[in-house]
Structure formats: C-alpha cells, structure tokens
Amino acid sequence: MSEKNTLRIMTISLPRWPVQRQLLQQPGFRELPVFVCRQNARGVLSVVSWAWVMPPAKCKRSRPVIQPGFSLSEALAVLASVYGQRASRVARVIPEDSVGDIRVLEALGRWCHRFSPLVAIGPEVIRGAGRGKARRQSVCSARSLQVDISDTARFFGGESSLLRTVVWTLAARGIHARAAIADTSAASWAAALSADHIATKSQHSLGELQKLPRSHPRRSALLENGAFRGSHHGHWLDRQQRWVLVPPGRQRQSLQSLPLRSLQLPVDVVDSLAEVGIDSIGKLLRLPRVSLQERFGPIVPLQVSRFLGDVSDPLTPLNGSELLAANHSFEMPVLSRDIDSTYFRTLIEKLVRQCLQPLVKTNRGVSSLQVRLDANEGHGPTVIEVGLYKPTAQVRHLVDLIMLRFERARLPREIVDVSIEVMSAGTLPYRQQNLFHGPTQSDASRFEILLNRLVSRLGSGAVVEPRLLADIQPEASWVAAPVVGVIGLSKSHRSGRLLESSRPHFPKPVVGPSRPTFLLSSPRLIDVPLLSADGLPVRFRWKGQFHVVTRSRGPERIETAWWRGPTVRRDYYIFETDHGGRFWMFRGLRKRSWFLHGTYG
C-alpha cells in the first residue's frame, strides 16, 4: 500500500498503561477493580488510571465513568454506585510507578523491533484533571510506541495486515492496544489515540450512507472521505475496531473530526480553543496559522505543521536499544534436509554467542529469544520462541533448548537466512561458586535447566505450578500457573494469580481430605436408580458398574456469589462404596440431579 520513499509511521497506543502494566505483572488483579493512584502534596490520592477487566456479569452494560484525576474517594464512590459497596471494598489501590511503566514500555519497544529497526517511545497522553484551578494538573493515562514502517510493512503482507498482526499479537500477550498508520507521527498518534472515536463515527456515517439515495450529493461527500477506504471488508466499520489505516496524504480528510486533544496540545490551550468553539482538528485546520500563533503562541501552528507533515518530525530511537540479534545469510538457498545437524548446531551456537556478548558484559542473560528461519519469497518463515525460567548466559544450554525445539518444528524446505533475536533479557542471578569443584551446577540451577528443557519441548502451558485461588467453586479454586510466562516480565514479576492470603475479603479455598485427588474436567451426570429416605443415593452407576454406598458425609453446600456470573448451587457429598472407593458427588439444587465431580484416587 505504501509507496517507496514515503514516510509511514505506525503508532501503537496502550490505553491505561499504568494499570495495564500492573495487570500484566499480577494477572490475578484482573478479577478486581484496580486503581493506580498518585499522591499529591496535600496527601490526597488521585486516580491515574483504573480498570476492572472482569466486572460482575450483571453490571457489564453500565460502566462507571471515572476519569483520570478523580480523587480516590470520589472514584470509589462512583464505583460503588454502579457495582455496589462490595466492589469498592475489594478494590486494589496501587501507587503509581512511572519508572517501572517506562521500563516495561521499553521492553515492549524492543520487542517491536521485529517490525522495524526504528522504534521510539511516543508522546504521553496528557489529560487535564480536576476542575477549575485543579484542572491545571495533568496525568499521563496512556503511553504509546511509534514505529517507522516506511519500507518494512510489505514484509508483513501490507499495512493492513501489519496492523492486525500487531494488535492481535499484543492481545494474545494480554496487552490491550490500538494501532494506526499515517504519514506523520503526529497524525498516526492522533489516529491511534482516537481509534474508538473513528470507529464510532464510521459506524454512524455508514448508517447515514445506507439511507441516502445513490444520486444524493451527501453520499458522494461521504464516499470521498478517506476513512471509508476498505469498508467493503467490513472490519473498518466495526465498533470494536482496534486499528486505523490512514491512506497516504489523506490525514487532513480522514482525521478532521478528531478532538483537539489528539493534537498533543497543552490542556489549557485546548480549553481556550474550546471556549471559542474550536473543538476538532478540522475546525482548527481551517484557521490561518498566523492568527493561531498570535493568539495561542507557537505551539499550535507547530503541532498543526507536524500533523500535516510540513515540518520534519523524526523519531527518537529507544535508548540503549541496540539490536540484540545476529543472523547468518546463506549465499544461496539451502535445502533444510541437506543441512548437517552438527553444522547447524555450530551455526546456532555462533549466533547465540554473538547475541550474548553484550549482555554478559552487563551481567545480564537471556530470558527469551526467537529463532527465525527465512525461506524463499512466497513461503512463510519458521519462527521458534524459546522462553526461559530464569535469565541465563550459558550458550550451550540455550543451544540445547533451541535444538530441542527444532526437533519438533516443521522446517521450511529451503532456508535462506537464520536469525536469532533476544526478545527479553534480565539480570543474572548471583550464585556462589565452588572453590575447588569447578563449574559444578547447584541444585537450583539444575532444576532451572530441567524446567527450561521441559518447557522447550512441551510448551509453556504444559509445565505449571499449582496456585490456590480465593474461590469457593472447586473448579476455580486453583490455577495452573506456567513456570515460564509473559515475555518481558521476569519470574519475580509474575506472582501468578491470587493466593488466598492476598484476598482477605474472600473466603479461603477448601483444601485437604475433603477434596478429591482427581477432579473431572466437568461434572458427569450419574445414574442413581435407588435413593434412601433422606434423598441420598443407595446405589449409583459409574462406567457401567453399580456401586453400593456404605456411608456418606455431607452436605457441603457450595454456592457462588452473584458477581461471579451464573450462580453455582451444589450440595457436595463424599460417598464410600462397598469396595472402599471414595467418590465426590453433588446434587444440583435446581434440577436435583446427581453428578460425579471427583474421585479419591
């Protein structure tokens, strides 16, 4: 789509970044309202960002309006008015950590090097907070990354495909993002920030377009609007649209309806312009720049010029973002079946060593890396990601893990290029060395190596550590937390989901002998031909065999709360049969049927 020598900038907007970052590091908080707050000089906590990813099902339609800059008490009152008092009691309040936010954003920026070598941190989204004099305060509620994709989009199947890839890849990693591509960094930033706004406008315009007769002049005017480009694909006009593609040279037409805050203007200037009725970019662009400068200073015409591309606005690359990558290109395509495994291992070892050299100097190691085998044009590359339990700088260990993955990967028929890219790095753990026994591995490091090997072959989801959750429903009372998790977040940052101790307001999960050793993936309906006088099974049939109940213990009533979604109401019993087997069964309180849920194996 882009022509050669045309600057194209992609902006990835990360709304509510402070709270998103917290949720990434503590996934258990997704079940609770989370407020990231800043304390002002008077000691009052004001909300920087907030989110409740999994709110009660019954209240999903009415979302509370809590703007950045609200005082915490005000925000909790609004929350309670929508979700009830309990919601405000269980809310998590986390102090703002702007340094940590930037650090994780930089890690994400380095991850974005896969799309282009030039990645920069975009301008902050500054919002006015409070009212009157207090409005002069400003909070940064979102962050963004900007990527120069002038000549790289075609490697990803075009700009539209690239946008989709970026948004959905980040979504798969638990990061909520909006993305936009335009000619200038200011325009793409504005479009990414207002992606929802554009989608809503497009939806309205489409409705209007469908009502107009074909010959109506308004129809042709709407079709002229660049925002409709690609509308035949449907996804452009979706209200859930997460990306915007501004065609080359059409940012003025496409983005004229955006609010003025999308133009990176100071809050007071936006307020002053709003007072005279200028509330959108289109209205501002119609005014002469000279008069704007006289009235509002040089900032307004400068931003307008940046938006339209009249002045140069280069991106500032990430600090210290030297590409921790190494690659080897073959002189001519090599058939993968002809590659000697020893040679291939040596090649991988050489590339890994190249990647590790700058890291080792700063006492850092690799947490995750990506190996890419590029094939001829027309064939997709083979990409292998290797995640580690803890950062390591051992070349041999890394090569072993990579080779382990290649054993099960489907290689391209011909390989043109082999590249290795470090996706995240971390500080190496300190280990005391033995004086005499040389480089013997400690107990901990041996276990880490084992976990890394298991993860490499079986996948990160297959090697887990069980963690208890504060949930009374048996299926939801624990979670299998992968030992190797989100890229860019070290082990110490991943506290998994909530342990029971961190949720004092919720009942602790029941553990111990009253719980079965094996739990069925879903409760199975049991045939109970004979019930006793008190309604308990005398006999039941399971896997074709009848079992005679000799004794029982129960009921243990499990009833979930209304805010968790569909209510679960069960009376659990432990039954011992004549053969000595123990079964965990429940009677549904609605249909009164008997279900087997677990066994004491």
Binding site: W478, T517, R553, Y600, G601
Partner: protein, 308 residues
Amino acid sequence: MAGRAQLQQLSRMVSEGSSLPGCIEERAGPTVVSSGLPSLDRLLRYRGVRLGTLMEWLESDDESVASASGATTFALAVAMHLQNTNVLTGCRPVVLVDRGRSFYPPSVMPWLEQSARVTSVKDSSPIRNRHGRGNVITGREEHLLYVIYPANEADEFWSIDQLLRCPSVAAVVGWPKNVSSTVMRRWQMAAKSSGTVGLLVRPSHARREPTWAEARIQVEPSPALQSRCQHAASCKTCSPGMHQPASGRWIYSRAFTLMQVGGQWDTVTTVPEPSVKCVLDLARGKEHVGFHETMERPECQKKIRCAS
C-alpha cells in the same frame, strides 16, 4: 595463572584427604530412607525406600474403581515425605506427570505446607522466601509441587525420563499406562544416576509384566478395617479425628491393605506375598501409628460394648 595452578594443586591435595568436609557430596546421605509410613517400611525389602529406584503402585483393573481406590494418595504421601530426606539439599520439589489432566492439587496442599514447616525447622537461617515455603537452603523461591501436562505418550515418557535424571527433584509421580521393559529400564537407570525416586501408579494387570521397579505394591482400600472402630467420641484412646461415622470424621482417614507383589524381574514367585494393613491420616499424609494397638486395648473394647 600461578594462583590458579596453586589452587588446582591444593584442590588435588584436599581431594586426596577424603576426611575433609569439603569433599562432602551434595547427594551424600542415606541411600535408604523411611517412606514416612511405618507399615510400608516393614513391607519393603530394605525397610524403607531406596533412593534412585522406581516403585510401582498397582490399583484395581476395574476403571470405575481404580481412580477411587487410593493408590495415588499413597504414592503422593510417600513422595511428599521424600521431599525432606536430604538435609544438605533441603526441601526438593515433587513433580507430577499428569497426562490425563485430572489431578486436583488442593487435595495435597496441606501436605506441602507440612513439608515446608519441616524444612524451616531444619534450617537455622533466618532467611525465608516470599511464600514461607520452598527451598530455604538453596534460596529458591519455587513451589514444592510442579505438574507436567504432556500431550501424548511419547512426551509423557520423555518427561518422566528427564525428571528422573535430575537430582534436584525429590520424587516423580506418574500414571503411565503401557510401559515396555525397555522404557522402564531406561527410567531405572535415570533414577539411579540421580537419586530421584520414581513412583508410578499403574493398573493391576501390569503385575503380569516384567518390571525394573524396586517394589510393586498392590493398594486395596479396606473399608472393613476402618469400620471396626465404631464407637463414638467418648473413646479417649483413639486420636480425635478417627472413625466417627456419626460426625463424618471418617473422611480424614482411610484404611488400606498393602501387598507386595514381586520385585525386579520377579514375576513368577512362589513366596507368599506379604501384606500389611495401614490407616492413612489424610489430613497430614502420615500413618495413624498405633491404630491397631488402640483397637486391641481392653478399655477400648469395653467402650465399644457400652456403645453397642
């Protein structure tokens, strides 16, 4: 370089003098340890679990009974006890290879807490990790229980093999179905090289197959044994949590008959198979010691008569 050479020379000298504490291997320690269940220890050939070996736990062939028979509970109880067998390495994790994805960890969480407490007592260092459990000696902050979910049989066998080769793992618990003697031999060699114990829960028909396991224990629940103590809470000699059907406390214990059914390459045996009875305290993962003695005491019998 000269310093390095001197160090190497010193190292050699120290190595020759084997009485010095620097020569203590990490894995130095007893090769036979208690299983934590005295009745089981009596049944085993070496009066305990020999480190670096495999043990098979046989459960019923009947699928509808097998998963509720208690063999897994026994294997887990032994595995949790093995976590603390080596004072030098501290508490090591137990890893479960659960291809069926049906294991429910909350059932054994109290046992893990107990293992962590034992480690804390052993350790004199004030350093504690975040969760108050884990290996305080090596400074690890990991959990004591890991679960592996292999997708197929090949991955399952490979995982067990890899885990058995790692000395940092206390025990591996698995539910492999069809294991050839070659695979079993490989596992046995792996366990031997590391000192890790493999606890394999298998169907009873595996009894007919040759094995490289050190011991094969048939586990059968004994409801009759547990029902013998039918008296109520007035019996002071029994421990408070035992066998009171009226209050439903019986769920905290479970009686089993353990039977040794042949060992290594010992499928055709003429020796009568020894067996023991054992009552497991499910709250602690330990055996109710003295249960049988308690049942035989005259005052207890008297109370039974009174109650009846």
